[in-house]
Symmetry: C2
């Protein structure tokens, strides 16, 4: 029989991996809770009518569809089976799909439960999502998202708090980061002053290459993209933008003097950065106004964030932004939202690379009792119950196997302490406690055993 396997792009998580993943999830969860966010969960399966058309044509193709149960061909006419291609047939035989992200289910949730919710609603959600992407290194077909969003409030204090959350989570995880901030309205302003609304992606991509190809290179690329000389001329202060955030803001305010939208974007960024300076002067993260940040342009409408690790080569490890009209797609217009998301897999990789997981995060069992036979096992299990009552994670080797085998088990499991009790110890109500790291042994009673490990 062949060794069984799992679908490509999916993963099993071993207990060592789970311990480290939980360390990340628990950190994010704790910080979200400190900031008043409330956890919700939505089903893995959504109606395809909820999901289709929300992620563009490409996204529709990446949805995992679930075959209707029972006689799924009932009512499907013979022609549909062979004509019209697979998308049409899929629509006939599949009503449900696996969620593709947490944002659309959240929008659906808000609209469906509008009468039960108190606005502004601060929710967080940590659940897997599924995408039929071509699997490759670092890209999976099942992965967790860790989202926090606030809906029903236009206040920029929400942006400020989300940046504090980004700072706090990475501070706790020990990852040094830069939080890049930009604003969709600044980008719109840039496009406006040069009269090239459709070239904004070309512009940000070219500016992003300044370090690599130099000013002449950037200007050449902009010309190749079809920008007239005059537009490129007007972009010069923006391309060469440098200095502190305050200096950048001053330069941009001047460069975008003719764009009302642009001014609004600068106001927003300035408010967020200066408020952060007042309310969180001890932030660990570097905050940086970055005009090349152009994520999610088709849905973000205000501030945009992206987090990069300073000590590891890795793309964005977290990001987010402000979107107006999240729930409009489900018939509830006028509700503004702002949110962030942590990329757990990339954070995991950064922490592994930089060796940032604390030992305690990966240690499971703290104490193993060796099993010498029925009477000794009963004696050990009485102590075991006491240890667990004191919060010690402990086991007894279930079989009276050879000593060597039991010690191998302790080593393989990386159990730091082993307790042994044979006839002598039982007669003295004691245990021999072995420290597996140092090799030291000591004779202890149950209280000493517990305090040695606690």
């Amino acid at each position: 029989m062949n060794k069984p396997s799992i679908p490509k792009g999916t993963r099993d998580f071993s207990s060592a991996e789970m311990a480290r993943r939980n360390y990340i999830f628990d950190t994010i969860r704790d910080v979200y809770a400190l900031y008043g966010f409330q956890q919700i969960e939505t089903p893995a399966m959504e109606n395809l009518s909820t999901l289709m058309g929300k992620y563009g044509e490409e996204g529709d193709k990446l949805l995992f569809k679930i075959l209707d149960s029972g006689d799924f061909l009932r009512g499907v006419d013979a022609a549909a089976l062979t004509e019209g291609g697979t998308p049409r047939l899929a629509a006939c035989i599949c009503e449900k799909g696996l969620r593709y992200d947490l944002t659309v289910p959240f929008a659906r949730y808000v609209v469906q439960h509008r009468d039960e919710l108190t606005l502004p609603f601060r929710r967080y959600q940590i659940q897997p999502v599924w995408r039929a992407d071509r699997p490759q290194k670092g890209r999976y077909r099942e992965f967790y998202q860790c989202d926090a969003d606030i809906v029903g409030s236009d206040s920029l204090l929400n942006e400020v708090e989300l940046m504090q959350i980004l700072d706090e989570v990475f501070r706790r995880l020990g990852i040094r980061v830069a939080i890049h901030i930009n604003n969709r309205k600044i980008l719109a302003g840039i496009a406006e002053i040069i009269g090239q609304a459709d070239k904004i992606m070309d512009i940000t991509v070219a500016i992003d290459k300044l370090d690599k190809i130099g000013l002449d290179g950037v200007n050449a690329e902009l010309a190749d993209a079809g920008l007239p000389a005059e537009a490129i001329e007007r972009l010069q202060p923006i391309i060469q933008l440098s200095g502190t955030n305050e200096e950048k803001i001053a330069t941009m305010r001047q460069a975008l003097a003719d764009s009302e939208t642009g001014q609004k974007g600068i106001d927003e960024v300035e408010f967020v950065i200066s408020t952060l300076g007042s309310v969180a002067p001890d932030m660990t993260a570097v905050v940086e106004l970055d005009l090349t940040l152009a994520r999610g342009l088709n849905y973000y409408t205000g501030c945009i964030f992206e987090v990069k690790a300073l000590d590891a080569q890795m793309g964005s490890i977290s990001g987010g932004g402000r979107y107006d009209n999240l729930t409009g797609i489900f018939g509830m217009p006028g509700l503004s939202g702002v949110g962030i998301s942590f990329g757990a897999d990339r954070i995991y990789d950064v922490m592994t690379t930089l060796d940032l997981f604390p030992a305690a995060a990966t240690q499971t069992t703290q104490l193993l009792f060796v099993n010498f036979g029925p009477a000794e096992a009963t004696y050990a299990m009485q102590a075991l119950t006491a240890c667990r009552r004191s919060g010690i994670r402990a086991e007894i080797y279930p079989d009276a196997a050879k000593m060597k085998k039991q010690m191998q088990y302790a080593n393989a499991r990386q159990v730091p302490f082993v307790a042994l009790a044979g006839e002598t110890e039982m007669a003295n109500s004691s245990f021999t406690l072995k420290n597996m790291t140092t090799g030291e042994q000591a004779t202890v009673n149950i209280q000493q055993l517990i305090s040695a490990i606690s």
Copy 2:
């Protein structure tokens, strides 16, 4: 536009529900970890070849199948589309399915990762499973299972520890329970001595009705089921089995004197119950030998457990047992396992009925700062940062809305404390702290604020 909805049999969990569910999951997780169990996770999707044929014909029908992505009709000949019925077509266009339980994926995991695992392997797993069952009250198409299993050890100490876990979890949750124990070999022994191996289900079902229909009723039902008078005669001591566990064991040992298998079953139950008495004399749960317990007869081979709440009308809220040869279906024979599973949804219902959730389990935000405008908000947010650093879950209302609206928000969210700071407080570096339960107000500085809430 219609209000959006979710697939039937699935659920959204609100933040209040999530808080209570997490209270249950965290309790189970903590106890599993104390007993040295290691968490793993497996993908939601498994290859259908892994799942099919493992749950009987009925189970195969209840698997959610995932339509292959891309051109799923490629290679499917026209005849298959119309002939052979839907199961054959489904097999052509679906390679993957959603997991139906956690046991088969666990068996697959053990075989696939056999070279990385140290045996005995104690794993726990808390993840959702999916079944295309007809939805009804208390039965869902997506629900969580919380399983712990030990593979690679025949020792009955594992059974003892699993019963201790059952006891500890329900003790912590505050649910008074009886743990029913039986043994597959005792049931086989009963069938053996009366020469009616195929009647064991009829017998346990009939015995289970003793309280309701009386001894004559039970005997009549056994006769209806086709048992000869002599067999019914031999069953009398078993049907009328009563007394303490020790008395029951003594009676059964005599009744099954002619069955070696039956004696073995009694030995096992006796060992588990008496060892429990020695190592966990302070157990809270009632332990009861119950011959009518006949769950999972097609896979359990030794001890069987089932937990019932004493103070609520509800089916089994937890259960498990010993199965030999779990991994044989994947080509790795000879590995014995024993495990338990908690029914989170039923436990949730019992706890709701009995009002057992502690208030702290459902409270989210502890403190809300009222927002009186930009300057006041900055002042409040400085304090907010300090509160969060002290571990207080706190928020500021993001907009400078009317006081009434902000207080309504605090009430709706059931926030127990509200802090207010206007000009006067700002001048004195103070806050007005309002206890929302008692209505009391006090002027406090930031340290007093933090200690009042911590």
